[in-house]
């Protein structure tokens, strides 16, 4: 790297559920320590990526218009083939001419996104790049990896003036099979031979690449840790105890493609050298940084989350399903209603009446104003905060809905009114302050459907302290 690109701001997102690793292992006759983060049924790598990206843009004081490209790394894009990148751009309000790429294929994808974005900034093809790494792997049932498998996301704003300057990178590639998922497989398989992987692949390659970065002794390290022990082995080889990624693994578990970037977040909070190394899919890559000033949005990860059972996790991941067929519902997500509706649902658009000022939502079903009936409406982006006017908690619903499900009528700060689902049925009351967050509403006929839900501001799941 020529030194003309650096991280200017960052953001983090964690899913709302936590499960004790021991609950998972106990079901298979084993034991484990700690907890891992898991997506609730309405969360996935896209909603996590949205949350982290919004946090990074806020930290950097950037509007969506300022972003020239989005590079997103995940092993679990919501569409294995399809409009994943376009959906995320729409939800973030990025321009329709935005550049970038979706990188996938292994846990290496997060660093792939970082380096591709850095190259684009250095080359001058974008001025400001948004990098997001997010993941929520679905582990094979009964694998040792299952109790380690977490979820999370990290996002960086890259620019020529970013204070965490990219100094160098190094990579090593080898055609070996370790953690993988076949083309038509649902779940990720575990290492096929733990000792072979450790002795011949992981430890030598990660150590070699880390040393190639030639960082000084006081560097902080984000190191991969696929089994809870290998990270420490590499740290000993490097002669360091400054492992900034330890807390991310401890709090969230192994977050796949997001892990190397999440592990860097605490190191970006103070000045000095830092390095991040990733292993995934036979490739090992390291990136060296010189943090010239604390980065906005960086800090220690906070422990928030609702504790759930192993059965909840299995159901949310689609690994525990009721017998019989669920009733097919709703509109086909490939149909015209979604072509019209997706931009305005994911962009949270309304139409403001030129005559009376009332906002009608969404625009496609409101050619006339709901306030005065007037025909002149101008498109507006809705406010993202408001208060609860009234609500219900639905207890009687067919699968795939899960009760209790709260629905809230909210008065947004700009005067618009919305009725949407609430993420927290226990925290809702009239007058409560809420914010809107992107969630996965359903998987309809195999297709994810996204929209905004309310979340009580006082329960805000801010993942950094």
């Amino acid at each position: 790297m020529s030194g003309s690109v650096g991280i200017a701001a960052c953001g983090v997102a964690a899913p709302s559920w936590r499960v004790a690793a021991n609950d998972i292992r106990a079901a298979w006759g084993g034991k484990a320590k700690g907890t891992v983060a898991v997506c609730a049924p309405d969360e996935d790598p896209l909603t996590l990526a949205w949350s982290a990206a919004v946090a990074a843009m806020r930290s950097g004081g950037l509007d969506a218009d300022a972003i020239g490209g989005l590079w997103w790394g995940t092993t679990r894009a919501p569409f294995a083939e399809g409009p994943s990148h376009a959906y995320l751009c729409a939800a973030l309000g990025l321009s329709s001419g935005v550049r970038g790429a979706l990188l996938s294929g292994s846990a290496h994808a997060g660093v792939d996104a970082l380096l591709a974005a850095a190259d684009a900034v250095v080359a001058g093809s974008v001025t400001t790049a948004l990098v997001v790494a997010s993941d929520a792997l679905v582990p094979g049932l009964g694998t040792a990896f299952e109790a380690r498998c977490g979820a999370g996301s990290a996002a960086f704003i890259l620019s020529a003036t970013g204070a965490a300057v990219v100094r160098a990178s190094a990579t090593h590639t080898a055609p070996v099979v370790d953690r993988y998922r076949g083309d038509r497989e649902e779940a990720t398989r575990d290492l096929y031979d733990a000792r072979l992987f450790r002795e011949e692949v992981f430890v030598p390659h990660v150590t070699e690449v880390a040393l190639m970065l030639d960082l000084p002794d006081d560097a902080r390290w984000s190191l991969p840790d696929p089994d809870g022990r290998l990270g420490a082995v590499v740290a000993r080889r490097l002669g360091t105890s400054a492992v900034s990624s330890a807390s991310a693994y401890e709090i969230l578990g192994d977050t796949g493609a997001a892990a190397p970037l999440l592990g860097l977040i605490p190191a970006l909070a103070s000045t000095g050298p830092a390095g991040a190394v990733v292993y995934g899919g036979g490739r090992t890559t390291g990136v060296a940084f010189d943090v010239a000033a604390p980065i906005a949005g960086a800090g220690n990860l906070a422990v928030h989350g609702r504790e759930v059972s192993y059965a909840d996790v299995l159901r949310a991941r689609g690994q525990l399903v009721p017998s019989g067929e669920t009733v097919e519902m709703g509109l086909p997500p490939g149909g015209a209603a979604f072509v019209r509706g997706n931009p305005e649902m994911m962009g949270l658009l309304g139409g403001r009446c030129v005559d009376c000022g009332v906002i009608s939502t969404p625009p496609s079903i409101h050619p006339h104003c709901v306030g005065c009936g007037g025909p002149k409406l101008e498109p507006v982006e809705l406010a993202r905060q408001g208060t609860v006017h009234t609500y219900v908690v639905n207890h009687a619903m067919p699968a795939p809905f899960e009760a209790p499900l709260a629905l809230a009528v909210i008065d947004l700060d700009d005067g618009a009114r919305l009725m949407v689902q609430a993420t927290d049925p226990e925290g809702i009351e009239i007058g409560a302050l809420v914010e809107l967050v992107l969630r996965r509403y359903a998987v309809e006929r195999g297709v994810p459907v996204y929209g905004f839900k309310t979340r009580a501001t006082k329960l805000s799941n801010d993942p950094t302290e």
Partner: protein
């Protein structure tokens, strides 16, 4: 000025889960009941037009119900017949359209019939599947109780309405239903049973909700000046009104009332030259307990915010100041959607003819009101007013 219209026959079949009857058999039963209720021998071939209310035919296993299904089922194939679909007020709107057909002078003897099969499909496939109908996001999770429960939450917040007040509606209507041989439910419930029933959609519990019911009801309309050919005790149409409001809940201007009900009733009162104080009894839309509280306020029987207290104090009981839902209402009699409005008309007809048996209320003015509200966002309301007086 419109030609006045008389109701000379009305009737229904016993409501319930009628697994043993087809849509067509229910229609034939209701037609027979209305025909036999005509005082003088009635010749069905006199019927020169029919209006059929069926709301959910295409969802409830009656794919493609058109105007021809019912005439064929009642032995009158060939007559002009139109299906009316206007959400929960489908039956009351079919009555209004039938009355207009007679008032216009185009038709003489008109059959209005409501028929609904709610239970040929499972709950999951029927009512609950609407949880994902409509807009992809803004209505997702919106089962039927979600259309009314937010009004309960807000009414409780603004006026101090309590779950006991809601429950008092169910207790009253189940009491009335136990006196109505046509009601789906024939048992009384206690306040404690209503309060202890399982939650369906907070703050509404199971006994705050009407059941899913199959049923059919019919009425026969003729020009007022021919009424005495058919009957000794005619009941006349005094007025009617329809109103609409925005279809989505987030478009509502208020969550403590239903503006469509206010506007529909004002139009009906104006047409009849009457006001709420002139009404002796009313059959109103009580799909949920909160709905009846909103109704009696929006129809002008009780001051806004005091509906719950009025029910708890017995003002709407059979012997109260303004008896409401003497038939048991949707809560106890049932809510076969297309049939509901026509069955309410039948109850008003019986009350005005003083044929309601143990449910008979004292008549002061000989005027009764019938009301439905529904559809997405409770955005459609119909009010019909009946009278014994041809003033």
């Amino acid at each position: 000025m419109w030609n006045r219209v008389a109701v000379v026959g009305a009737g229904l079949i016993k409501f319930g889960e009628l697994f043993d009857q087809s849509y067509e058999q229910m229609a034939a039963g209701a037609f027979k009941a209305a025909s036999e209720a005509v005082d003088h021998d009635f010749d069905p071939s006199l019927i020169d037009a029919a209006f059929v209310a069926t709301q959910r035919g295409t969802l409830w296993g009656q794919e493609g119900v058109g105007g021809n299904t019912v005439p064929s089922a009642i032995g009158l194939s060939g007559i002009p017949c139109t299906r009316i679909e206007n959400a929960c007020p489908s039956g009351s709107d079919a009555f209004r359209v039938g009355a207009m057909a007679v008032a216009s002078g185009v038709h003489d003897v008109v059959l209005v019939i409501g028929v609904e099969k709610m239970r040929d499909k499972s709950t999951e496939e029927g009512l609950l599947a609407r949880a994902a109908a409509g807009h992809p996001i803004y209505t997702r999770g919106e089962t039927a109780p979600v259309l009314f429960a937010p009004f309960a939450t807000r009414h409780m917040h603004e006026f101090g309405t309590t779950r006991e007040m809601l429950a008092a509606v169910a207790v009253k209507n189940h009491h009335n239903g136990a006196l109505d041989p046509y009601a789906h439910f024939q048992d009384e419930v206690t306040l404690e049973q209503v309060l202890a029933s399982p939650p369906v959609c907070h703050p509404l519990h199971l006994l705050d909700c009407c059941p899913q019911t199959d049923g059919a009801a019919a009425a026969i309309l003729v020009p007022a000046d021919r009424a005495h050919e058919f009957t000794d005790k005619p009941v006349y149409v005094a007025g009617f009104g329809v109103a609409t409001d925005h279809p989505y809940l987030h478009e509502k201007s208020t969550f403590v009332g239903l503006p469509a009900t206010v506007a529909a009733s004002q139009r009906a009162y104006d047409m009849a030259g009457l006001g709420p104080a002139d009404i002796d009894m009313a059959e109103v839309h009580d799909c949920f307990t909160i709905t009846e509280i909103l109704d009696i306020e929006d129809l002008g029987f009780v001051e806004k915010g005091k509906g719950g207290r009025a029910v708890l104090d017995g003002e709407t009981a059979l012997d109260g100041r303004i008896p409401i839902n003497t038939s048991g209402g949707l809560l106890a009699k049932g809510h076969p959607i297309g049939a509901t409005g026509v069955a309410q008309i039948t109850e008003c007809w019986w009350q005005l003819r003083e044929e309601a048996g143990d449910r008979q209320v004292a008549l002061r003015n000989g005027v009764a009101l019938q009301h439905n509200v529904g559809g997405r966002g409770s955005g459609v309301s119909v009010v019909n007013i009946l009278t014994r007086n041809l003033a």
